[in-house]
Structures are given as C-alpha cells and as structure tokens.
C-alpha cells in the first residue's frame, strides 16, 4: 500500500499506519537532516518534529511523490530554521557511519575522505548544503529538490553546481 493512501487513516484511532510510515520514512528524514545539520542530536529533533507535524495535521496527499516532497520540504525547512537560530556552521561529528566491508586500508582511506567531505559540506551556505544533500545524497531529481526547497529548478541546478565546485576546491586543498 502506498504511504499516501495510508495517510488517510491517521486521524482515526488506528495508529498502525502512522507507525508504519514512521518506520519506512525515518531513515530518509534522519539521513537528510543529519547531512544538512552535521550532528545526530539535532537530526533526531528535526525528525521527531517532522513526524509530529505529519501526525498532527493528518494531511492527505494525491500520490506518493507528493507525500515524499512534503516530507523533504518540512525536513529542509526545519533544518534551515535550526541553522538560522544557531547562526553558526554546523559542528560535524567525527564519528562516521559504518561503511560497507572493504579491505582495511581502502576502507580507512574512504572513511577519511567521507569525513573530510562532511566537514567541507558543513562550510557551505545552508541552502546550498540542503540542495546538495537532497540532489546528491538523497538522489532526488532536480525538480523534486526544487519543489522541496520552494525554489526554481534553475536555481537548484546553479546551487548544486556551485556547491560541488566549492567542495572540490576544499577537498583538493585538504589532499595537499
């Protein structure tokens, strides 16, 4: 069953559908929030707020894509609000996510690169960071990113290109 169809049941006493949606979507919401904010504590707070809003409003969506776009939009907005309040660059946790099994040395190098990339990502302006996270990490189309961020597709394309260019510069400097 599609999540959009499940949403119609939320206002009722039956909460199974809501719990299922939380289970299915929490990974994406948490991951996006973590990549934008740079730490798990804030990402958890944002994810909670996203699902509470979903529960409170009991919104119904035309289709799964609309539901997904709504989730990402709320997530991005909450993350941007949070970065605005803190007004500082997000602090990147050194502890990285456990990666796929590789040879010990290659795995170590890979992890190091990812940590560097996360640190570089944290230096980007919040909106550019959010655009890169949604486009490159979450794998959304430019159109979906534009919808989630309330921007034009051209703006998103430009933000992502600019951000990747900056990241490349930062990573090259780090490698030297």
């Amino acid at each position: 069953m599609q999540d959009a169809a499940l949403m119609l049941e939320i206002p009722c006493e039956v909460s199974d559908s809501f719990d299922r949606i939380v289970q299915e979507r929490e990974t994406r919401v948490l991951r996006a929030a973590y990549r934008i904010l740079g730490n798990w504590a804030d990402a958890e707070d944002v994810a909670q707020e996203v699902f509470l809003r979903l529960h409170r409003h009991g919104l119904s969506f035309a289709n799964d894509a609309a539901f997904g776009a709504w989730l990402y939009r709320v997530t991005v907005n909450l993350c941007l609000d949070r970065t605005r309040v803190r007004s500082a660059r997000p602090s990147v946790e050194i502890t990285e996510l456990p990666s796929v099994e590789q040879s010990a040395e290659a795995s170590l190098i890979r992890e190091q690169e990812k940590t560097q990339l996360m640190a570089a990502l944290a230096t980007l302006p919040p909106r550019e960071r959010a655009a890169v996270v949604l486009r490159e990490i979450e794998g959304l189309s430019t159109r979906d990113v534009a919808e989630a961020m309330g921007s034009a597709e051209v703006t998103v394309r430009s933000q992502v290109a600019k951000a990747i260019g900056r990241l490349r510069g930062l990573m090259t400097r780090e490698a030297r």
Partner: protein
Amino acid sequence: MTEDKIRELFREMRDEPIPGASRARVRMAVAERTQSWRERIRRRWKLAAMILVPVCAALVVLVARGPVRTTPGTPASGTPVVTQPMIAENAEPAAPPQTPVNSSPPVVRVKRRIVKPRSADTAEAAALIRIETPDPNIVILLIGG
C-alpha cells in the same frame, strides 16, 4: 579530487545505515508525544460528553413536556401580592359586554367607599335642614357644609 569522486562518495553515504539508537530515539519520542496527543483528545471528548449529555437530556425532557405554564412571579421587594382586581374609587363601571365572549363567571366588582372621619368643628358648622313631607314616614334631611 574530481567531481565524479565527490558524487561517488555522496552515493556511498546514501547507502550507509542509520544508527539504530537514533532511529529508536525518534520512534520512541514520536510514539510518546502522539500518544499524549491522543490522550488529550480523548480527555477533551470526555469533558465535552459530560457537559453535553445532561444538557441534551434536559432539552429532551423540556421538549417532551410541551409548553410550560407560567405563573406570575413574586416581586422582589416583599410587597404583598394583590390577587383581587383593584378598582379606583371613582372609576366608572365598565359597560357590560353586549355578547358573552366566554362562559367564565362574571367578575363582581365591589365599589368601595372610604368614609373619612370628620372633625368635630366641621360637623357643628354643617347646616341641617329638615323638610317634613305630608307622609309622616318620609322626612327629607338636607345636610349642607
């Protein structure tokens, strides 16, 4: 580092699992807060029901009893209630109705006369004229004053 390498690293990040502790914390917090929200809604419904049920019952009883007969209320100042119709001293009696409207008994109007006590001086000053008629049983008394 090339752009392709950066994109590849990002793609790998997408596949990385989320820490179970974070997921569990989010799930627990959401469940706790949505349950309390549910409880709040339930409590409001109970309160509303407690108010609405007696009101509805009272309305049903009132509607079932039909129109209510009203009785005149007692005045708050404690003055005695006049149940008889008061008629002014010099009021003229109302003309009798030409056609009886209903079969209720006619109201008997009592004409009250208030006799004011005269002072002694006034009584003495009053002139008395006595006229005797041929009939010894009839005497006309004219009292002037």
